[in-house]
Amino acid sequence: MKSNKNNNKLNGFFGIFFSLLWVFPVFWLVVSSFKNGTELFSYPMTLFPNSPSFDNYAVALFRFDFIRYTLNTAFITIIATVITLVMSSMCGFALAKYEYKWLKVLFVCLLATTMLPTEVIMRPSFTVIYKIGLYNSLWACIIPTVGTMTGVFLMRQFFTSIPNELLEAARIDGANEGKIFVSLMLPLCKSQLAILGIFSFRWRWNDFIWPLISLRSPKKYTLQIALRTLSGAEAVDWTTLLSASVLTMIPVLIVFIIFNRQIMSTNVSSGVKG
């Protein structure tokens, strides 16, 4: 009993220590975004700004077309995330619950695609996007990214854990496959959808290389491409870069807070099923 208590204390200590280790750089970034250019490089360094100011945020918001870049990024992120969730859950369900010939082979083939780094398929993907006329379109940042095997694998593994008897009972009650998927399966995998939703949102929101390749017009640029312009050949606008970085973190944080409860409940529900 005493040993358990000591273990809990030790776990708590390490938990708090590693949390602080992770949170500190983010906290430093946020407080530094309120410093002016002189204070940012003053020596000795100070953690908190002596004269905090929102000037850097005003510059970040008005120097470049922040609203347009945010809307472009939001469009790509939301649409890509919705399509990723729909595709991954349907594909995962099919791979887990249907016993067609070659389906397992198809699954292994799909799984094998995860061994190819994204950079390897960028050139062929770009050629396809250009040939179908989507170059310099926001859809070019969405379509190649929505079919993620990580998402399919996550959903398939979850659906595998659901007893087949549940599906058979529904079929006996007269439900068709679409009805089973939408009314029975999807409500059961809310937690997995929330996790995949958070990951997908984060992937697309922070995506840099693919939008850089597939977009060429400033009207279509995303936040990450715009942020990079603050790092010049010989100078970096650190004050604006810090404040703009904080602003771009906010939507991801909001999404995480909204879906946080779903993630926490994942462990509980998977524990019951196990």
């Binding site: 250019g37 919705v82 939408v182 009314s183 060429r216 400033p218 050949a233 010989e234 100078a235 004050t239």
Partner: protein
Amino acid sequence: MKKVLALLLCLMVSFSVFANGASETSKKEVKTLEILLSDDTLEGGAMAAVVDKWNSTHDNFKVEINEIAYGDMKTQIMNRASVNELPALVKTTEMDAYAEFLLALDDTSLKQSDFLRDVTRGGKLLATPINSTAVGMLINKTAFDQAGVSYPTTEEERWTWAEFIDAVNEVVAKTDCEYGIVIDHSAQRISTLLYQFGMQIFDPNDASKIAFDSPQTKEGLDFLLDIYKKDISPASVGLGTENAQSTFKTGKVAVHMSGNWVLNDYSSNITNFEWTPALMPYTTDKATCLGGNYLYAFDKTGCEEEAKEFIEWFYDNENYSLYCSTGNYLPSKVGVDATYTVKGMDIFNMELNATSSQPAFDDSVKNAHPGESYGNALRDAVDKAIAGELDANGVIEYFSNSILENYTNVSQ
């Protein structure tokens, strides 16, 4: 669930309308000439000011700026070249890599003799040097004044490198400064110091001969390495793991060897001490290295005539002066004056006027080898020397071999 699906559908439809809106609008606009560039906003928005002037005084075509990060310029150009969607105009530091795709400007009113830097390749005027940069020194004026050490602002007062070391040692001893100098982690800045010791990369009497292996080069390299060995400069800055510009901003360094491009940043972001440009020291030669951006047009973009018209208008003295004054750039066109909002640009002009001819000669040899480059071999070799892997002779051998490996028709 139905409500959620309906909401998602509405979202997708409204986003689709938003996404298509931009392209619908652009179809109705007049012909647009695109300028792909980087760092304009960071450097004060000079091109934006000139483009605004064009758009408010001309209606035959519109000029639009496409600003991307400096580091993404090559990716963007190569990618767009692969699908024949190159921009009409580009402002960047690199021109030789794209020389075969550039639009010759020989049938415009511009001539090579209008410009300070060589922009002809194969006898054709392929670009324009839109602005010049010069390597120079910035000193912590507060520290120098506090130590009672004077600094050179006229040719007569210019230090030798030995006098410079004495001066910064005195500043460090008498003030809060911890280091005498920081030098940018750059082959150009290292070259400038070596040119001041009499270094030659190529033999001025025979451009096919490498002349880097000389007592002058060795003396310069020994001097440079001593700066790090004696802790006059932090080795971390010499190795590039710490940024020289950021280190100078702390106020703990007496001198920063950099260039005129830092003036805008220092004017905005240093308020806790005074700084000012000062003339660079020398041992045998007064020297600075020129750099800067080019403005050129790509061929076969469908906007060739418009591009030529804009470039000619841009280099009209009044418009070009507006560009240089707004961005605090050193003009690259002969006979153009600019008024600057930052102090000390005259020092960089003095460096340009006093420089020896060797840096320009070596640049001309490099330009005569299109598609061939030894990259940052000199900087890499000096990095190894600072880390203790090479000595001055090792740096000479490493750099000479890099030239021999990468350039055709050159010999030791």
